[in-house]
Amino acid sequence: MKKKFISLALVAAMAVSLAACGGSSTSAAGSGSSSGGTSITIFNSKSEIQDQFVELAEEYSKAKGVNVEVYYSSDTVAAHLATKYAANDPYTLAMVDAKDVYSLGAEHALDVSGEDWVKNTDYAISVDGQVKGFPVCIEARGVMYNATAIEAITGEEFNPDDYKTLDAFTALLDKLVAGGMAAPVGIMKEDWSLAAHYFQEIYEEQDDPEAFIQSLYAGTADLANNQKFNDMMDTFDVLMKYNYAAGQPVAAEREVSEQKLANGEIAFMFGGNWDWSLIKDFDPSEKMGMMPVPQNTTDGSNEKLVGGGSKYFFIDSSSNTSEEQVQAAKDFLNWLVSDPEGNAFMTERCALVPAFSNVNADALDPLSFSVKSYADAGKLIDNYNYDPDDHYSIVGAAMQKYLAGQIDRAGFAAEVENYWSSTTPVEH
């Protein structure tokens, strides 16, 4: 009997210690000025603006008498929210990706169709005819360049429009190599960058992305002979050839690559305007920007960045959130859009490209400025937001193999086709 007690206690102790090891890192930041008024919680999923957001929460709490707490988690957004919903403790306001608004919105998001800001944006997300997602910013993907470094070698002004085609781009790369830049390109090996950002453009630049995705599900798409697939992979081959980490591309660390780009050791890297949050810490060159992915094509896609609204706030609609909290959350969103201080928070302090026509955006960083000018010129190709949740991981792994030279293009195409045809279509 005694032995059983001891073993029972031991098992319990072990279970507790195991559970303690499995914690994920969630950091909270309270405003500290709880004045007995309404309290709302905000989930922020953009790590690069967490510090600014915490400061803002403190100021906002003092000014408006609403206790605002901002949380951040390094977990996948959907996974983190899942645990919060499982615990019946949802955030009042949650910042999520577009796909999460579609998957969670119907059940968990409040209808905000009547809000003032709706008419000022083209980027809000509606689910079943009701506006549910508040667009936090515009983000776009393309090739980031360091014009200062390029001009130092070529001696002439760098105009990205001259390098729309892969041929012209390759000629420039050769010129840079001849001019002393040993390897002018960086490639991020992260699966989200390869699959959800670069490869994703293959879907998004099809004539009809939805139809193309459906044919992938059905197994009828012939990826290996698809024009867009081959155009983009031709460009990827060139990027791989001039990659500074070509010897061991999957060991490249993102921070190192960003630093090289910022300092002009390399001139090009595929990415997005959010990369500025890393680049800005490395004393970047003065003239930087973003350009479309060069391709030998005439369909116009090599003149456009790919992107649109990114990260959306939604207000929790469950009974866990009181009416006062809902009102406070609505007020906060309106404040962001219509109050000069709210505007300054988004554009100046967080360097986000505003998704609202009434928000002034003169103080943006160079990458965001590029995005803004492409967006204003109507040169943005829409995001495709309905990938299955495991897409980035599995296609990303296949693309890492391609990057490491372990499979060829036909093998890669086959792996991607296999993935899609064995996956249950996402309803939307």
Partner: protein, 293 residues
Amino acid sequence: MNTNTMSYKTKQFLMFAGVTTFIFCAVVIVPFLYGLYLTFTSWDGVSASKPFVGMANYAATFQDAAFWQALLRTAIYSVISVILVNVVAFILAFLVTSGVKGQNFFRAGFFVPNLIGGIVLGYIWKFVFNRALVSIGQSLSVGFLSTSWLATTNGAMLCLIIVSVWQYAGYMMLIYVAGFMSVSNDVIEAAKIDGCTNMQTITRISVPLMVSSFVQCLFLTITRCFMVYDVNLSLTKGEPFNSSVMAAMHVYNTAFTYKNYGTGQAEALVLFVVCAVVGVLQVYIGKKAEVSA
């Protein structure tokens, strides 16, 4: 006072084990049963409805090739790690009980890695493997060091094993130290007088008398290796090409990232059964080998 009544026994049980039993039920038994129920639903982890789907999740588990690969990978990793951890720990324990100068300092030193959390440890070693070793290798032009091990499939597994051994060896060393200390000096002296060499004293006298230490160490290392997650996450994150995804990470991904909570839960159950069978078997066999002086 009659100590043989039902009420006395119940009271005694509650007094000594009531709290732990309650906590054990609350944090282990109840979640376990609830998890069992979830394996029969197609819950996505967020939705309010949990549609009943019968055995579909178990069918999906058996068809999920990536899960079985991860499980096999975990088994290989565990076998190698468990052997290395215990060999290293045993040797360390022998060295720090043999009376070397400053052995308490060494004991503390070897134990320290165990005090660093797995996540931090993973990031530290990532730096070592990706930068430190690579720059040493390049400046001395040592071929196998000048590229990052983390970028190759076998290399990533090797790195995981190295880090696990470094992390656990110190902890297991303490248990073996206790084992060595528990062997009475009389027995050792008697063996010496009878003409045993040092080696014979260890293999014939010390080791058989400290089998319980081995049982404990093996149990702890096996279960920890099978459940490895934190080091896996921070050191390799499953890369390159998802080739270092261990079973626990695959379960987490399936349940939370890919939003197949039911299937993830079913896979977790399979992982639990595997761990339980291995653990119980090992303890059972170990107990049989125990002797007393």
